[in-house]
Symmetry: C2
């Protein structure tokens, strides 16, 4: 067991922490901006619709979706209400009385299918094209090490 | 100018994209969980209170805070209402009629000061202790390259 330093974070420690946070945040921001401006879907819309297609074959329980996105149920619920108004998704009864099933509409399916190429292109442009072979290796190794179970 | 691949993302491309997103997300989640369980502040509370102290000397305009956190104004406003109810912050009039000034209370100051050591320890435990010298170098280089202005 390693002994950890004590006291406030030193500048170099803060710099690493901020680098780690900003890597993912900035990348998500950029890709989200491209999708928004080219397709009208927000990053959150894209997250919802792509999960409905990929994980649920078109339908998921609202709670499964919340878990997969890491969102609180109330935040997701507000967002889904707006997506329902735009006719991208439909809510219905789930298998039990208390669960809600969420289904992608035809309009939602068209929207996510039109957005996927924009998503792929944006990820390549902003991220993948900047990674050398050694960066790729390190990124995968780091993600594995830092996100393994405690 | 490099030519980018076309078509859907290949598995290895998706894997890198997911690694990049999960690095920051999982790290934030873990540090947030430690702060929550040891101090009762959520990660968002910590973000608000630490910015009030570090950037504003105790007071910030609500819009400045929203910009710094990358949150939409309405989401932040809801959150601040709950923090005001818990007496961690106070809202007052800003310099112009339409701006709102947000000030940390004594209770908020006590809370953030008690949380900082937990924050530092958690970052060291979950992240810094797992980084070798070469990881640190690459992480900083990657963050610099991927978050530079387009």
């Amino acid at each position: 067991v390693k002994t950890l330093a004590e006291g406030p974070l030193a500048d170099w420690e803060l710099q690493l922490w901020n680098a780690l946070k900003s890597l993912g945040e900035k990348s998500l921001e950029r890709v989200g901006r491209d999708i928004q401006s080219e397709t009208g879907l927000s990053a959150a819309d894209f997250g919802v619709l792509s999960r409905l297609e990929d994980l649920g074959g078109g339908t998921l329980r609202q709670q499964e979706l919340a878990d997969s996105m890491g969102w609180q149920r109330s935040r997701l619920s507000h967002h889904l209400t707006r997506m329902e108004e735009r006719e991208l998704v439909e809510r219905g009864e789930g298998k039990t009385a208390r669960s809600t099933a969420l289904t992608i509409t035809t309009k939602g399916r068209d929207a996510i299918r039109a957005s996927r190429p924009v998503h792929a292109k944006s990820i390549r442009r902003h991220i993948l094209s900047h990674l050398k072979a050694e960066d790729r290796k390190l990124l995968l190794a780091l993600a594995y090490r830092l996100t393994a179970d405690d």
